[in-house]
């Protein structure tokens, strides 16, 4: 039973960026409208295969994130379906007003792909961490915020976004994750996936932290605690029914995210206090800029690890 991030990483892991690109290439084969827009980020977005197959449909504006999102909106105006892909930290912070105005307020069919969010670029330091993006993006009206947890779901999300006529922010990480969703799973915005039934406490995770929450569920089971484990693929919209049921049927909710806890944690808290007050614990990055260090070290450091999550659940149950 893995208790640290290092131990989690011992299973077969996938880089979801590979899936995102493979899916985009596949879609682009049959849908001429699909274009990719980047900020000198072909490599970090792993868009090499797309560039090779469709060189003219890759629009590289250089290191210019405002232009990148604006050009994306213009391409949408011109009938294209643009996937704008850049490191999450620069995409969201540098082009914030373009995301607000050109994507969300304009309700363009425009997919914003934030690559390697959270602390995936751990050693590069807080300038390259994207821990604020979930809190920021969910505070933009009209934007769907998606954090897939494994390759299968990533592929489904990219397909869904290609067909969804509206602005979407998708987080895709370079950090390895195992296969998680079961056969026959279908992604839908606002629909949680139950990974473990349980009646004592509920763990709600998203993206790269889902595997850690599952492991925490096992640790808790070994300690006699029957934890429910949910994956919440859309931070916005939430699966309100699943969360309200969890608040009613278990002692409380522990949210888990590779982000400031005002992301998923804050979103769930805002739902519960209004509809069904219940105790919560937040596992994520506290209100601080992280240190430099590997993402594995940082995740463990902040307790975004199986034992950190289990401890948070035990703390909730003990009060």
């Amino acid at each position: 039973m893995p208790t640290t991030t290092e131990a989690v990483s011992k299973t077969v892991l996938h880089d979801c960026r590979d899936t995102w690109v493979a899916t985009l290439v596949e879609l682009a084969e049959t849908d001429e409208r699909i274009v990719a827009v980047v900020n000198d980020s072909v490599g970090s977005s792993k868009l090499g295969p797309f560039q090779e197959r469709f060189p003219e449909r890759l629009v590289n504006v250089g290191i210019a994130e405002q232009d990148m999102v604006g050009v994306g909106a213009g391409l949408a105006n011109g009938g294209k379906v643009p996937f704008v892909s850049a490191a999450a930290c620069f995409l969201t912070a540098r082009a914030m007003e373009q995301i607000k105005v050109d994507a969300a307020y304009s309700q363009h069919h425009l997919v914003l792909v934030g690559q390697s969010p959270g602390m995936a670029y751990g050693e590069l330091g807080p300038t390259h961490h994207s821990i604020e993006d979930l809190a920021w993006m969910r505070a933009i009206p009209g934007l769907t915020v998606v954090v897939p947890c494994d390759p299968t779901e990533t592929a489904q999300v990219i397909r869904w976004a290609a067909a969804h006529d509206g602005p979407v922010y998708v987080r895709v990480s370079r950090m390895g994750v195992p296969d998680i969703v079961p056969d026959g799973y279908t992604f839908a915005p606002g629909r949680a996936l139950t990974l473990r039934e349980g009646k004592d406490v509920t763990l709600v995770a998203t993206g790269t932290t889902v595997v850690r929450a599952v492991a925490a569920g096992e640790l808790l089971a070994a300690a006699g605690v029957d934890a429910r484990v949910l994956h919440m693929p859309t931070v916005k919209p939430l699966d309100e029914d699943a969360l309200l049921a969890a608040a009613a049927e278990t002692a409380g909710i522990v949210t888990v995210e590779e982000a400031l806890t005002s992301g998923l944690g804050g979103a769930v808290a805002e739902l519960l206090v209004r509809r069904r007050p219940a105790p919560m614990r937040f596992v994520g990055v506290p209100d601080t800029f992280a240190s430099t260090g590997s993402v594995e070290w940082l995740l463990d450091h902040f307790g975004i690890s199986p034992d950190g999550i289990a401890a948070a659940a035990q703390d909730l149950l003990s009060k």
Partner: protein, 304 residues
């Protein structure tokens, strides 16, 4: 101590006598150049009349920058562009983006006189739930290609639109009007670099060069000169024109692309508040709202 702008009463729109704008439509096919210019001149006059009445009625607006850009808008919509209400569904129609979105009333009145909007709708300008926001919204008016208002957004979007056209081999041209103060925004230089290097020849950037911004002269804030050199160094073909001369504007727009493989930059020399005597080249009129007497005087000057 509220400023003058704060003291302007929010008057009841019903109480303000307003023209009902006549839908003039495009310059008729086969018109001589003289006829065309006369048509545009009359349209611009009617649009300025309606515009200042809207500003007075809503108690807000940017009349200075509206009066400087109206001749450009009128020339584009009523003649130069391949764009009309019937063409809205045509992907090959020309595109227009008003990057200086604060001149929204000028765009709305132009769209009305060109037949894109029912003229009665102008009476709802800035009223609760109106489609006519203080700044144009793409989701609210079919002919608005991009939501603008924050400066420095329209040009990158225009570059994207032009890019799509180039990818599709479409003949359509994309016109975008920016303010001159607006060119202080770095997003524009990012977009110009992209446009120049990607050789977007079907893009035409029109700079409303009225030499004033919100609080002062552009030269006293953060100067743009030498502007033509800047644009040329970003690989655009530069043309200068009197932005109030409909005939000259017609010639310039007819000649876009002005150079093969290059986007065109038109520096349109204009006067903020033109042609109203007490507004012309006067920074106070960036977003000042005229009194009833000032409206009357402006309307009288527009008869002359």
């Amino acid at each position: 101590m509220p400023t003058e702008e704060d003291l302007v009463p929010r008057v009841d729109p019903e109480a303000v006598p307003s023209d009902t704008l006549t839908v003039l439509g495009r310059v008729p096919a086969g018109a001589t150049r003289e006829e065309a210019v006369a048509h545009l001149r009359e349209a611009a006059r009617l649009v300025r009349r309606r515009d200042i009445q809207m500003i007075r009625a809503s108690g807000l607006g940017h009349v200075g920058g509206e009066f400087s850009v109206i001749d450009i808008l009128i020339t584009l919509y009523l003649d130069a562009m391949n764009m009309s209400p019937e063409l809205l569904g045509d992907p090959d129609r020309d595109r227009f983006i008003l990057s200086k979105g604060h001149a929204a009333a000028a765009l709305y009145t132009t769209l009305a006189i060109a037949g894109f909007l029912p003229p009665e709708q102008l009476g709802t300008f800035m009223q609760p739930l109106s489609q006519l926001n203080g700044h144009p919204a793409r989701t609210k008016i079919a002919a608005v290609e991009a939501s603008t208002g924050p400066l420095g957004h329209g040009l990158p979007v225009a570059v994207g639109t032009a890019f799509a056209g180039q990818l599709d081999g479409s003949p359509r041209r994309t016109f975008v009007v920016t303010g001159d103060g607006e060119l202080q925004e770095g997003s524009n230089w990012e977009a110009l670099m992209t446009a120049g290097n990607h050789r977007l020849s079907h893009l035409c950037v029109v700079v409303d060069r009225n030499r004033l911004q919100q609080g002062a002269r552009v030269a006293d804030t953060n100067d743009l000169e030498p502007l033509a050199d800047k644009l040329r160094a970003f690989n655009l073909e530069v043309v200068e024109v009197d932005g109030h001369d409909h005939g000259a504007l017609l010639d310039v727009f007819a000649n876009v692309p002005a150079a093969s493989g290059k986007p065109t930059a038109v520096i349109a020399h204009t006067i903020k508040g033109h042609p109203i005597s007490f507004m012309s080249d006067n920074v106070a009129w960036h977003h000042k709202v005229p009194s009833a007497e000032q409206v009357a005087q402006a309307l009288a000057e527009l008869e002359a």
